[in-house]
Symmetry: C2
Subunit: 166 residues, 2 copies
């Protein structure tokens, strides 16, 4: 968080996560108002569910959670909501996990660079322009015009790494 290229670092287990959720919903609400997007109750609820942890959630976990609310829900329900949320940058899809994670800075469009801990499953999001630029340059050199970059890195977060050394 000190580094401006880090959109969200690995969060300690004891932070005030209620505040994370509240902030995410608040920002989404404001962004939607500004862009005249409709953050319907369903979309808002799915966003809230995605934000339950700082790790990727599968579509069917969300589906179960929706059903837990008492409402009836089927796959298209959650996928449509996710489409909206991904499309508008409130949520990122992690391709290597077929799962979804909340984005803390949907105000400006970007596609993040993700660090995924194979031990605790937490995810950090970077947005390092140097990385994007280098990849773009290399691709351009081959005549390739980039429309989207998918950068997902797996390994061990600092906390899990220290614990593993023992």
């Amino acid at each position: 968080m000190t580094d401006k290229n880090v959109l969200s670092d690995f969060r300690p287990n004891d932070h005030n996560h209620e505040a994370c959720i509240a902030a995410a919903l608040e920002i989404a609400s404001a962004v939607c108002r500004e862009r005249e997007l409709r953050l319907t109750p369903l979309r808002r609820r799915v966003l809230e569910l995605v934000w339950q942890q700082h790790m990727p959630v599968g579509a069917y976990d969300l589906l179960d959670a929706l059903r837990g609310d008492g409402r009836r829900a089927d796959p298209p329900t959650v996928y449509r909501a996710l489409d909206f949320l991904v499309e508008n940058g409130f949520v990122h899809r992690i391709e290597s996990l077929n799962a979804y994670v909340g984005c803390g800075e949907p105000e400006h469009a970007h596609n993040g660079q993700f660090l995924i801990c194979g031990n605790c499953s937490r995810v950090a999001e970077m947005e390092d322009p140097a990385i994007s630029k280098l990849i773009r340059e290399k691709a351009n050199a081959l005549g390739f015009r980039i429309s989207q970059q998918t950068i997902e890195v797996t390994g061990l977060c600092g906390e899990c790494r220290e614990r593993a050394q023992t």
Copy 2:
């Protein structure tokens, strides 16, 4: 191909593709002999099928092709063969497509950086150390130890881009 950081560039449609397939099988055969891996007929056939085009192939397309051979085949058959081929670097998995593409240089371990044309579906593979290094450095700065990098870029290859400008 002139650039040593490009493991396989976009191939023109008229190249001698039989040679590509033959070379891939030959290399795989040699590598397996050297590493005492077992390139069984099934694995060899799946590798050959993956190499039918320079674009990612889905597991179930391979399954259909195996059945086309007259043999009986079920999902575990092809997934197990793919596991072997991916594990040992003969094939790369494209996470963003849930599909598989042959690797032309399995001799040395690496995880490639892929350019995927959204129009013609052809794939090029780079292995640019500068990109890997930069990502590794940024991750290290966050205390993260990388075990694998997934870099998949979508866009338009040179040929398709020119054609689209019209």
